[in-house]
């Protein structure tokens, strides 16, 4: 308390520049006068009396200094003084200042930019209150190799009553048609159990979210809508609550509007853009009866009780699972090994992009390091030129620590100005930069340039300034006083140490940039390989548009309710679209058939029941499946290997058939012929389908995976609501969406037509995160190479300057100019060799760490390593060439005269 008061008094004195010197002088004068009188009384001579008084008082100057130090804050005062001096010094050499500040602005600006992305995604993946309590609940059947198989309603009740969760909720994902507006629209929609918003902990801005009364069996006609939908479709009508919405031909009414910033959770961007939520208990019609064995293909999230750790919650859950298994041995067969996992919700949303972002942060960190090294190098060069000034200061009595502090203040100022400049550039260009980020990054909308980021930039600059300013300051202050002062001419005073330091700095720049270039090279090759990969299907000249067939709550009113009714529609869509200009072929499939287009979420894997092997969906492996019309395989150029494809004669009342791909054949009928085998798809006991053919693998799920098991069913035999209509031919991408829409809506004006894109674009955007990180790392590597080139140029020039005299003597003694050139180039090459050696060692570690991000190229790819080393050596040679030329053209007579 006391010392705090003292600090504030001193601070206020410092701020107000209050000086107590005059007061002290008067006090001391009085003191001396009184003491002298006393001494006189004691019988001393006047002179002696004054002398003794002064002796007793002590050294006046020392007292004044201590008094002044007490009056104010000497540390601050000196800092201010140093900073003022540093500003003046930088203004005196603006060229140096601009180069150094620009370099730091680049390093710190880039680092801060990447950090802003990481901050919004990895560090704060969820914008819900108490995000640490939120978990996704996965249940797996490791015994049959099935993951995240979904949960049944009784299992959800077990979770809700377990005492582990505050709330737990099921959620699905799908589409509905919003009609009654100008143009029918497809809305991303989530059926949820009523606790869903309670789990997320978000309340409505208008009206309410769901409550337990919304969970009567069957359909609940209450919906909550997003702020975006409210504004778009209802003009932000303040009396929206209670109004009706026509969704899939049924009337619903709005009970709540979510707040503007609210975004749903989910694996894919589509899910996160959900705009409509309806409550359901998933138990009454049309859902299957709530049996323990009928797992719903839904996601589950929960909010753990406060204070319960994830580990403890998982332990409680394991106990619960064990007791349930004992209680219901029929539903949980031992060989399926049913287990339930808790995964932090944030983790599950960002897990897929984490490696890419960490790689980017690492890369940008290297760029920052290189820029710091570069500036340190500049500082050293400058200190060399200022050797004389420093020696004079030292001769006048400045202590070494005082000098270091002074030099440090200068470098700190430089780094801070650089950091602030970098942040400023970032702030001004943020709109532009955000557009470069791939749109499917989670939480992209929450990336912003905030005060927190400024703090980040400033602290990074300060830390860098101290670390990289200290070494040059330390070296510069370690000057040979008499030697420097005796030297004529200004500042050739670089010591042996500082030239070694500069060499080390340049070498480390080379090594660091080699690491970055190897990383960029490997990513580039992976990207190229992925781009060149054999797709197994042909995306060229193909466009897809989507539509959604409404699912009215009363099946009797569903005009596409039966497979036969839907087939009629599909055939009509195909017939009409084939008449469009340029269209050669038309096919239809469900959304899951769209190559690379659907987010690989939890809702498109279904159990595969093989006849004679599995008896129920509980024990079956999960497989990707899609429903397509017969033209699909030809339109996409997929090859039949054995058996036959679907035909137009495979319809509702002919035997059900299926086609599997080769990966499925290998995985599920190893060593056997799958054609002729019978399977059931899904857990709700559908009819048996006979496998009629095997097609070649295609990379329809992921470019990086050569073949994932896949089952195709015929769209004329199996009902589906989400349709992708494929058109192949000489298409006009601008006209097709409207043309296809008018064709489809001429059949039924209430069908929404949306999401038109060419398969080439789908392909490109599926690579967007890879492209983003590849391009960024490549840019960073180029920057690093440039900085390293500048670094080596500066260092060689400096070394040549140092050796001017030596070179001149050599020339005078008859050395060939070629020898001089070779000598200087040799120095550059030597540094490049050491840098490359160290860099290759570092690059091996880094490439090993980033192996998971590579595709089709070994992390130790010789071509990349060799190529990069070659480029680096070339740059080092080119950078040394200019100073080497200067050395070669030295006029020995002039030089030796001037020395």
């Amino acid at each position: 308390m006391k010392s705090l008061r003292r600090f504030f008094m001193r601070l206020s004195n410092f701020a107000a520049r209050r000086n107590a010197d005059q007061r002290l002088r008067e006090e001391i004068a009085e003191h001396l006068a009184l003491q002298t009188e006393e001494n006189l009384r004691a019988g001393m001579s006047p002179a002696e009396a004054r002398r003794q008084a002064a002796l007793k008082l002590g050294a006046g100057q020392a007292i004044r200094e201590r008094h002044h130090a007490e009056q104010s804050l000497p540390l601050f005062e000196n800092l201010l003084f140093d900073l003022r001096y540093a500003v003046r010094a930088l203004l005196r050499s603006p060229g140096f200042a601009i180069v150094a500040i620009a370099t730091m602005a680049l390093g710190i600006g880039a680092t801060t930019a990447i950090y802003s992305v990481i901050d919004a995604t990895l560090l704060h993946p969820l914008s819900y209150p108490h995000p640490g309590e939120l978990v996704r609940i996965h249940d797996d059947l490791p015994g049959v190799g099935a993951k995240d198989v979904g949960m049944s309603v009784p299992e959800l009740r077990d979770l809700q009553n377990s005492g582990i969760f505050q709330y737990a909720s099921l959620y699905g994902f799908g589409s509905v048609n919003l009609t009654g507006t100008a143009q029918p629209a497809r809305i991303a929609f989530r059926p949820v159990t009523p606790a869903y918003f309670a789990v997320l902990g978000v309340a409505a801005q208008l009206g309410r979210t769901f409550n337990p009364y919304d969970s009567t069996p069957g359909f609940n006609l209450e919906v909550v809508i997003s702020d975006g939908l409210w504004k778009r479709a209802f003009g932000a009508d303040p009396h929206i609550i209670g109004k009706t919405l026509r969704l899939d031909n049924d009337e619903y009414h709005v009970v709540g509007v979510m707040p503007p910033g609210f975004r749903d959770q989910g694996q894919s961007n589509d899910e996160r853009n959900t705009e409509l939520w309806a409550a359901s208990n998933f138990a009454g019609d049309p859902a299957p009866p709530p049996l323990r064995s009928s797992r719903l293909l839904l996601g589950v999230i929960g909010r753990i009780k406060p204070g319960l750790s994830l580990e403890a919650a998982q332990q409680h859950l394991d106990t619960l699972v064990a007791s349930l298994k004992k209680q219901y041995p029929e539903e949980y067969p031992a060989q399926a090994a049913w287990s339930v996992r808790l995964i932090p919700l944030g983790e599950s949303m960002v897990a897929s992009i984490r490696p890419s972002l960490i790689l980017l942060f690492g890369a940008v960190g290297l760029v920052l390091l290189i820029s710091c090294v570069n500036v340190a190098n500049l500082l050293l060069a400058r200190a060399g030129r200022r050797g004389r000034e420093i020696a004079v200061r030292q001769a006048l009595g400045a202590t070494r620590t005082r000098l270091i502090r002074q030099l440090l203040a200068e470098s700190l100022l430089l780094f801070l100005l650089g950091g602030i400049a970098g942040f400023g550039v970032l702030f001004c260009t943020q709109q532009l930069l955000v557009q470069l980020i791939p749109a499917n990054l989670p939480r992209i909308h929450d990336i912003s340039i905030s005060w927190g980021l400024l703090l980040f930039a400033v602290s990074i600059s300060t830390a860098a300034g101290i670390i990289f300013g200290l070494a040059p300051a330390w070296l510069a202050s370690r000057i040979d006083l008499t030697g420097t002062l005796r030297q004529e001419g200004r500042g050739s005073g670089g010591s042996r140490q500082s030239s070694r330091a500069r060499r080390i700095l340049a070498i480390s720049e080379l090594a660091l940039s080699l690491v970055l270039m190897v990383a960029a090279g490997l990513l580039l090759r992976s990207f190229w390989d992925l781009f060149q990969v054999q797709l197994g299907f042909n995306p060229e000249r193909v466009m897809a548009v989507q539509t959604w067939l409404p699912v009215p709550n009363d099946p009797k009113t569903d005009i596409y309710g039966t497979v036969a009714q839907e087939s009629l529609l599909l055939r009509e869509i195909i017939r009409r679209n084939r008449a469009l200009p340029g269209v050669e072929e038309v096919a239809i499939g469900n959304m899951d058939s769209l190559p690379l287009g659907h987010g690989r979420d939890d809702f498109n894997m279904i159990p595969l029941i093989r006849e004679g092997l599995e008896s129920s969906g509980n024990r079956a492996p999960q497989i990707d499946s899609s429903t397509v019309t017969p033209e699909y395989f030809h339109l996409l150029g997929m090859t039949l290997l054995r058996g036959r494809l679907f035909t137009n004669e495979d319809v509702a009342d002919t035997p059900l058939i299926a086609i599997v791909n080769e990966a499925a054949a290998r995985a599920y009928w190893p060593g056997q012929e799958p054609v002729g085998k019978r399977i059931q798809m899904g857990s709700a006991k559908p009819a048996w389908a006979t496998i009629a053919g095997v097609i070649a693998n295609a990379r329809t799920e992921s470019l990086a995976e050569a073949g994932t098991p896949h089952v195709y069913l015929s769209a004329y035999q199996r009902h589906t609501n989400d349709l992708a209509i494929y058109l192949r031919g000489q298409l006009d991408p601008a006209a097709i969406p409207a043309q296809a829409r008018s064709q489809i809506q001429s059949i039924n004006a209430e069908l929404p037509v949306f999401g038109a894109e060419s398969l080439d674009d789908v392909l490109t955007s599926s690579l967007s995160v890879r492209r983003f990180s590849m391009e960024l790392v490549a840019t960073f590597a180029a920057t690093a190479l440039l900085l390293a080139g500048l670094g080596i140029y500066g260092t060689i020039s400096y070394l040549v300057n140092e050796q001017t005299r030596e070179i001149a003597i050599r020339l005078a003694l008859g050395a060939q100019r070629g020898d001089i050139l070779r000598m200087v180039l040799g120095q550059g090459l030597g540094m490049a060799a050491i840098g490359a050696g160290a860099g290759v060692a570092g690059a091996l570690i880094v490439s090993h760490l980033m192996a998971s991000l590579l595709y089709g190229v070994s992390p130790y790819d010789l071509t990349t390593f060799a190529g990069v080393t070659l480029v680096l050596t070339g740059v080092a040679l080119a950078a040394s060439y200019i100073p080497a030329l200067r050395a070669m053209r030295l006029d020995p007579i002039k030089t030796l005269h001037s020395e």
């Binding site: 008094m9 003191h31 050294a59 008094h67």
Partner: protein, 115 residues
Amino acid sequence: MKEKPDVLQGTLALMVLKTLEVLGSQHGYGIARRIEQISGDLLAVNQGTLYPLLLKLEHEGSIDSEWGASENNRRARFYRLTVAGRKQLQAETREWEQTAAIIARFFKVKAEDLP
């Protein structure tokens, strides 16, 4: 030759506070003189060191100062104890006495007293 003991860090402040309590308002020379008299010239203090200390105590709020006239009618700065300073003095006096008592007890104990 035996050197005069240095004033322990912090002890000088206590002496200043005690002096001001006894003498009331006093100028720097007066305080220095008083400390010298009481310690019987056993302490070696550069009287000048008193002034930074006085400023520190003032910053801490233990003492207060104002200009006044000295005995020979010249301008001098007079220091006096504040309420906070008085409290501080009491607290420190207690602490000091306690410490002294403990040390004294240690000196009293002889080898044969130990169990």
